[in-house]
Assembly symmetry: C2
Homo-oligomer: 279 residues x 2
Amino acid sequence: MPTRVAYLGPPGTYTEAAALQYAPWSKLIPFPTVAAVASAVDTGMAEEGVVAIENSLEGSVTDTLDLLIHESSLFIRQELVLPIEHCLLARPGTRASDIRVIYSHPQALGQCRKFVERSFPGAQMVAALSTAAAVEQLKSGGDDTAAIGNRRAAELYRMDVLESSIQDTPDTNVTRFVVLAHKDHPPTGNDKTSLCFTFDDDRSGLLYDVMGEFARRNINLAKVESRPTRESLGRYIFLIDLSGHREDPSVKEALQNLEKQVTMLKIFGSYPRYIPAPA
Amino acid sequence: MPTRVAYLGPPGTYTEAAALQYAPWSKLIPFPTVAAVASAVDTGMAEEGVVAIENSLEGSVTDTLDLLIHESSLFIRQELVLPIEHCLLARPGTRASDIRVIYSHPQALGQCRKFVERSFPGAQMVAALSTAAAVEQLKSGGDDTAAIGNRRAAELYRMDVLESSIQDTPDTNVTRFVVLAHKDHPPTGNDKTSLCFTFDDDRSGLLYDVMGEFARRNINLAKVESRPTRESLGRYIFLIDLSGHREDPSVKEALQNLEKQVTMLKIFGSYPRYIPAPA
């Protein structure tokens, strides 16, 4: 286990909850951005870093994808999947009927939109940089303010939980986190590999050919996604999560063939598929 | 031309600039969210609506994709592509050396991150719901506040432009907007079609088979993207932009075959490919 783990803070974020589950006995160090988490691992301030990569309702965390694509040479060593339970928090003594302003991260506001429209139809939704930052803002907010965050943030910032499980689709809201490190994970027999690639040419037939390398070897693609190259509109970098470890013979062969067809190939790492602990 | 066009406001957003270019003689009506723009068209408050769908640096506007997938039965009738030029704005009299807080939409903050880190290393970046909302916030902000927005917002809210073209990659920052309406566009001979589909089964071979329908008819896929189904993590809805009109015989045939293989197929519409006006 790593002795120091960086995570996207401040304390009270869902990422902290993921880091606590992953490394309960490590020293957890909060950083303000995904880039700062990676840079803490790069410079040795922490051995590993935890960041969110995907939510079942909102989709990919593009900051994390873009960091892996463009900026970082760290590897994905683990994945973690956590259920998200949003709560409505306010300073002790605040009455629900007084609430006019609700702070949270835009994703959390989006995930609780129906709840807010139903229970606080006139309330103004105000964006914050994280759910924990929103809760922290309550300290200096008026008596008519509330925030959407998790239970741990309520404890840390001494706020009341006015309502819990307020997300619009309670059972299907989970977030996938990844642990970034200098090395990926050795094969375990039940692994995933994440990678990205792009083409100079924008003929779409090339993507089809590449997918054929995996299809004909029965390598399952768990995810296919695209991100802009940042060079021109309409040119994309494709991201794939596949079943298997990069050292598995069939995956290795497919990746070698892939390398010949693309102009850029970056393997983010191979890591064990997340298996939920028995309830 | 439509008489009333809804757009994602407030006035001074880049979407307003796109709407002005598209329908300079129409009455433009601002709405606070992408969903509200669509609903204005649905209910007849406007004939058409303009929303952003994709930026060359930040990628897709997921609110717009999710609206098209899950909530709206409107069609894409046009696409528009506009260069984005971010400016640093402040109340008249504000000195650059006093600035400690910079408001903007998270995408704009992301696109000017290097500029801010270089020129305002200690400044705090604060998220706002739109670039125009950030500029509006300056009215009640302190003397140490600035916002990232466009020139039109500076005029509308009577702010000074302290610096212009502050985005990190000045020449490659463009945004694609779509015009939503009750009908898509008749064929012009140089069209695009946008659609989404999903499978009950999560075998990735299915996506490969679907792409084969297009590849074997030489239909170019300009974009392949995925969004969560919102049902469970790891199940996706795929979005494709292809070359051609849904009434073109080869596209029509490919779509008929596609329909047999997928559990959900939704065609967002066919519309003329955007051709920039000569400079």
